[in-house]
Amino acid sequence: MQIREIAADIGLEALAVADPGREVAGGYCSDLLSDVLAHTQPGDLWITHQRHLNVVAVGKLRDVAGIVFARGLRPSPEVVARADAEQVNLLISSDPAFVVAGKLYSLLHR
């Protein structure tokens, strides 16, 4: 399923979407960067509360389909600019991480 369809379905706000057609294969929830580096799969949507610059690098290096900031957490404009430059999809959900993950799971496994 493409990230633009998922964003529309579960109500994600797009902050930087360089690749709206990117296929989402799964998801991963974590705020520990080393854990994300070890366990996300390419094409995962990474749901997190971290919103600093290094998050963009981690997402890029693991080739995630996008990064979703839960609970309406908004990153600084510098983070969005870095994501634009690195072509990493960034989105925000007003839901808590548990709910975002639940919605994504139902969407991908229905």
């Binding site: 960067l33 080393s34 600093h52 290094n54 998050v55 890029k60 290096l61 693991r62």
Partner: protein, 149 residues
């Protein structure tokens, strides 16, 4: 002894202590170089993870130093060389879950104690040499498969 193989590419990147704004820049540059050489996505991802973990360790815990990327015909080598303070007990520092990260770094999602472990997991050959009060040098090697077979 491993035979010498021709060098395909060499890059040297400075790493500045505590400069979290720039942290990750070396890893993304290394990723770009390897993609440019047409390396497989698996090799690129493994080298990128090794590089990011090493880069973050240098930024967070050392006085800075440099990262050297060496691409040879049969391997990718990433060398991390810093100006100290050195690691007193390398086995302990390599244990998953062991961390000396301050609270501020943990709040940013660093300091899980998985950095060196992740580097080892993504390398085929991995060696740390350290002298307390002087320096640490890490060599991580990813083999590209054996030619002639």
């Amino acid at each position: 002894m491993t035979p010498r193989t021709p060098l395909v590419l060499k890059r040297i990147y400075p790493v500045i202590s505590r400069d979290l704004e720039q942290a990750g820049v070396v890893s993304t540059a290394v990723r770009r170089e390897l993609l440019g050489l047409g390396m497989s996505p698996d090799v690129v991802r493994r080298a990128s993870v090794v590089c990011f973990e090493g880069e973050m360790n240098m930024v967070l815990y050392t006085r800075g130093g440099r990262i050297i990327l060496l691409v040879k015909e049969d391997r990718v080598e990433v060398l991390f060389s810093d100006h100290g303070p050195g690691i007193a007990d390398i086995d302990l520092a390599s244990q998953p879950g062991y961390s000396t990260a301050p609270d501020w770094a943990r709040e940013l999602g660093f300091g899980a104690g998985l950095g060196i472990h992740n580097m080892q997991q993504n390398s085929d050959l991995f060696k740390i040499r350290s002298r307390v009060g002087e320096a640490t040098v890490v060599r991580a090697t990813i083999l590209l498969g054996i030619p002639f077979f």
